[in-house]
Amino acid sequence: MAHEYVPEIATDREGNEYVVQGWQDDFYGGKLGFWLFMFTEVMMFGAMFLALTYYKTLHPEDFLTASHHLNRLLGGTNTVILLISALTMGLGLLKMRVGDVKGAKLMIYITMFLAAMFLAIKGVEWTEEYEHGIFLMHDKLLPESSFPFGEKLFYGLYFTMTGLHGFHIIIGIGLMIWLLKRINAGKVTPEHHILHWNIALYWDIVHLIWVFVFPYFYMIGANHGN
């Protein structure tokens, strides 16, 4: 499709002309498609939240105890980092739309840096938990340990959900590297920025999921046992 795409014209019986929407160059179609894809992310995490809620009703006490032992300082820092990264991502898109490609690229670099920072802090957090004997297939979470069922389930879901969320962050970084390459290649421009738009949308979903993950894991037991 090297040649310029010219949309077709359909004519009705009175001779009125209508521009035909083709699959080429369909900004709204691309946006709609990505929104629909984001629904699937919501349904995926929704199912995990469902499981989480179900087990919380079965083991309310264990859940609060386990939640109390999570590191709220690191988790909270990560929340702030992710919120700022959502802001920088959005600013980058705004800059792209007004034609400031350089500024947009700078914002994407900052977002990537913040995302990497998020992962690093997550790594510190998981290491700390590992040292306390809490990790998948390790010490307290082994089937034969006498750790209460409720806490095992809490931590199991904690590692699953934060792990899958972290996986989305890694994919996000990959997408941003790709986006930068496309910008440098001149394929993403202020006139044609659907890719940038959709990656910004993706990043919004990633931070939105965290906004729910954070209170559900870290905050429910904040005052427990004090």
């Binding site: 359909a10 699959w23 199912a47 095992k152």
Partner: protein, 551 residues
Amino acid sequence: MKKTYFDETHCAIGHPKSTFMQWMLTIDHKRIGIMYAVVMMTFFFVAVATAFLMRLELFAPGGQFIDGDTFNQAFTLHGVIMIFLFMVPGIPAIFGNIVMPLMIGAKDVAFPRLNWFTFWLYIVGALFALSTLWTGNGFADTGWTFYAPYSLNTDTSVVMLLVAAFILGMASILTGLNFLVTIHRLRAPGMTFFKMPLFVWGIYATGWIQLLATPVVGITLILALLEKLLGIGIFDPAKGGDPVLFEHLFWIYSHPAVYLMILPAFGVMSEIIPTFSRKEVFGYRTIALSSAAIAGIGYLVWGHHLFTSGMADLAKTVFSFLTFFVAVPTGIKFYDWVATMYGGKIVLRTPMLWALGTIITFVIGGLTGVTITMIGVDIHLQDTYYTVAHFHYAMLGGVAFLMFAGMHYWFPLVTGKMYNEAKAKIAFYIIFIGFNFLWFPMLIAGYLGMPRRYFDYLPEFQIYHQVAFFGAVVFIIGITLMMYVLIQGWRKGEKVGPNPWNATTLEWHLPYSPAPLENHTKVPYVDFDPYEYKNGEPVVKFDYATMKRID
């Protein structure tokens, strides 16, 4: 010589010279649909062969040909192929791809490259699934439902199969997404939602189910996978998990999945009935909206699979009632189709025969479904042959039959040729008779207490198994003949024009047949209803060079 889509294509990457690579890389929706059809029919025959192996074993009580473990693997293989590789992608991937863009006057789907990618994702998923036949500790023996905790404890290759099911689910989501955007964005000017052919409505409703339900089973399978690999304990009672939660999450998808199989099939029916009755469809809006209603209500009925798994009585009652409600929009559709035929000029060509046969088989399948919606009855009939027969009457006698109907209906559109009508009709009758001999005895055997998935049985059930075996032989002869007729039709069939059925929808208004690469010569302006007939003749006529109405 006019160039058809068999002669030229757009490719996802580059401009390959060889025909083979052109097919592998094609982004043309018609070619992709044909490739899906070929692959799926192959899988269909593998699954039928597996089922026949089980029938052979069940011919007499006791073990003859295969042992119990092999039998467990056989029904798992049959289920996995039929559900994940044939029924779920089935009609949307084949006819949704080939016909839907033509019906709405589009040049292709909204994301043609994604469509290409999706096809290969499906192939990768299929290879993953089937590779476990030869790798690991043998094919899974859990049944296609992977119920915990057994699936978590068995040594067979469940892990690989779960990965495969996830990939196939991904392919299904992307197909649905592609079609939803196509229908929203690429309809020809003037075509409002209520001017779309009813098949497009079926695909549209299906797209939403694919999009909203599939991720739930996707994550459920991932959780089961992580459970197996990392021992998280979400579904394993030994680690505090609840296996019933797995059943819930699994059926939140897998029940809507049966509607995502049947809705496009109903769409095929809604195309065939008016065309061969030469009459406008009765109750267009009710058929269209009942598709949406089935999709919506179907999302809320999964609990009826768990009546015997342990659930609150109130929840059971609610799920039971909601399930009854699904029968209402389904009933509306059937009455609409019958009313369409009433007073019409019925032309009994092969596609119409298939549609009429399906009305019989699906009504049996649907009504037996209503009986097991009743909680008390279900407690008696759960996991018996009655349920199995119900399911196969609805799925094989509904979805697969209508897929065959569609294969006969759109055959001239895809190939530009016509199969041997007389032989195709004979094939239909053989299949129809064999099908009923195969499944009706199972309804009775199940009612009398024959449990499903058993490889041995009490001698008093022998007669039912033997009649079913006879039916299976007839059925297999029938589908073999049907495929033979279709393949012969493609090779040597008589050439026919673009509209051999006198049909009205846009896919029949192509300049020549098979279609050119980018479909219609020009996109038409749509100011007419999809099924306008007057005195048995189509009202809307086009000049195919300019796509302007000339009636």
